[in-house]
Structures are given as C-alpha cells and as structure tokens.
Symmetry: C2
Subunit: 178 residues, 2 copies
DNA sequence: AAAAGATATATCAAAATGATACATAAAGAA
DNA sequence: TTCTTTATGTATCATTTTGATATATCTTTT
C-alpha cells in the first residue's frame, strides 16, 4: 500500500468522530491536536477534494442563506484506510525545536542571548502547560467514557513532557550561570 | 529584515564552527542535531548556492584527483546574519508525533493496536535514549571548554525529555490495562 | 581483483507551510 | 441604527521541506 499523506489520515480521523467542513477541520486540528500536529488550509482543501475523488469521504453542500458550506462524512472505504494506517507499525516522530537550534549555535553570540532564548521558551511552555492542565482536569472525570481515554492520554503526554521542559529550563539557566 | 529560511541559519551555524562541504553538512545535521532537526540534500545544496550568491559564505573548490569537492567558509556577513537570527526572540517549536496522532484516533481500531503503537514508540525512544546518554557522558568532562556547554545542554534536553516519554509510556500502558 | 560501503554533488516530485484573497454572518460598540 | 470588529467559510499560491533517486569517485573489506 502506498504511503498515505499525513493530512489525509488526520482528516479521516477527525471525520470518524463527526461530520465537518474544511474550516471545522482546521479548527479541530488547532484546538485538539495543535500542540503536537499542524494543518493549514493550503493542504486541507486540496486533500478533501482528493479524498472525495478516491471515495474515502462524501460531501454534502449545505446552502443555508447565501453562504455555501461543504460538510464531509467519512465512508466505509475511508474507515478502512484509517484503520489500516493505525495498524501500520512504522511511525515518524519529529521535533523541530528552534530553541534547541539557537542554543546549539549560541557560541556565535553571548551567554545573555542564550539565556534570553531559554527564557522565551520557558515562558511559552509555561503558558501552554496551563492550557493543557485545564484540558487534563476536565477530561479526568470523563476519561472512562468511550474514546475520551485516548484524548486524555495525549493530553497527559503534553503535560508530562512540558513539565520536563520546565525542569530542564531551570537546570539550563543554572548551568549558564543565572 | 526578511524571515530567514531555516536551512540557511543551520548551515551558517555549522559553518561557524568549521569549513564544510554540502555532504559534511548533511552528516553534521544527522549526527549532532538529528534528534531535534532535519536537513536533506534537496534543500542543502540549493541553499548553499543561494548563500554564496548573497555573500554569506564563500566556496573553495578542491580538485584532488578526479573528484570535485566544494568546501564552504562563512564570511563576516554570514556571521552577522547568524547573530541577528540568534537575537530574534521569535521562535517556532514544533512536535510532529505520529505516535500521538495514532493514539488520538485509536478509537477507530482496538486497544491492542493502541498498545502496540505505544510499545513501538517506547522501543524507539529507549534505543535513542541509549545513544543520547553516551553523548551526554562524553560531554560531561569537557562541557566547560568553549562552546561545548551548548552542545551539552541540547543533549541533556534530549535525555530529560526522552526519560519523560518513557515514564509516560509506562503510565499509558497501565491506563490502557496492561 | 571484485564487491560493498562511504563520500560527494545534484535534481525532482510530492507534501507542508504560511500568507493572502475574498465573501458572508454574527456580535458588539458608537 | 450604523459602523466596526471578529468569526466563519472556501480557495489559491509562492516558498520551503521532504524523501527519493541518479551519478560518479574513493576507500575498505573480502
């Protein structure tokens, strides 16, 4: 089987929960999986067309008022593709941390710059961790219903790793002498 | 100032340490910063040409034997660009974890599949953590010389976060009933 | 001497990114 | 009421990155 483009399986995964428009899909990606995955209109809309051509999803145009709205639903063929991808053991996990890049090359500048970059990172992580903890708390009570358990686990991944980041920040600042 | 393409600053950062060929650059990226950054010939070679056109680097062709070898050196202008980038506070840090994606969508399949995906992830992380720890140990004794401190800090980031990943794996497997 | 693996440059199709354009609908302020 | 801002919605495009492949030489192993 050909290696499926990632945006395709992301779309299928989201449509497997509920019917959505392209715009909804973008929002779901940003809100629910935004801390570990991204999507843009630039690949969502073309992918939706492709997936419909391949009969993995089906569209329904909803013209309430003057506004055209295209809502998509996953087909049996689409569910099959999603399940096949889930069962593939090959995974690609990637970090792209500009903070680490800057730290690695920090010798080209001074310690103050290196420290400031760590502090900027720390600030962002602290803020995002706050948001993740709120999600985590609200999921704790419902995590045993249906598929919430999986959502809960991804959020705890975020919380645990972000806490590790913060600990590292403290250590790194100390080592750099602050 | 225009937002600089990331591969450009990666190349400048590496050339700031020593003169390198395109092939060397690819190797350095894979070895030294591979766990948090990637590069490919497909963007390294065109970027080298562009950077030379902009006078950020200078090439020296070394034709020992029949083999042509193009070695690059950073210029003062290139150093300036590198420093400017280091001082920009805007950073973009990204995770792209297929493992989390599969976990988030695991409801479309069964718990065994979800567990297997976590185990695959765990295996990879355990292997990579072993490598990182070796690097970490060898850097510990020289971390106070020159710029090694920054290399050491990036490696400890890897070690700390990978250890957090492993702890999360244990917890996640337990929650999923194993 | 042959085979295999590392070195080296280069290109290309496919995919992702980030920005923008355009238009309607809804909410809030003046 | 009217004006303005924000959210919804589809769509495209240039730039960048990815991943694979092509081609050739040099080095090490068998």
């Amino acid at each position: 089987m050909a290696r499926e483009k990632k945006i395709n399986v992301v779309i299928l995964g989201l449509l497997n929960h509920e019917d959505l428009t392209g715009y909804d899909i973008k929002k779901r990606i940003d809100e629910a999986i935004g801390f570990f995955w991204k999507g843009s209109f630039g690949n969502i809309y073309p992918a939706l067309k492709e997936l419909e051509e391949g009969k993995y999803i089906k569209s329904r145009t909803d013209s309430a008022g003057n506004r055209e709205k295209i809502r998509y639903r996953i087909t049996a063929k689409g569910k099959k593709l999603l399940e096949d991808w889930l069962k593939e053991e090959q995974i690609s996990n990637e970090l792209r941390y500009e903070t680490l890049l800057k730290l690695f090359f920090a010798g080209a500048s001074d310690r103050e710059t290196a420290l400031r970059n760590i502090e900027v990172f720390e600030g962002e992580i602290r803020r995002d961790l706050g948001i993740l903890k709120v999600y985590c708390k609200s999921l704790e009570s419902i995590k045993d219903d249906g598929d919430h358990i999986y959502y809960y686990l991804t959020v705890t991944f975020g919380v645990d790793t972000y806490e590790a980041y913060l600990k590292w920040c403290t250590k790194a600042k100390k080592i750099l002498g602050k």
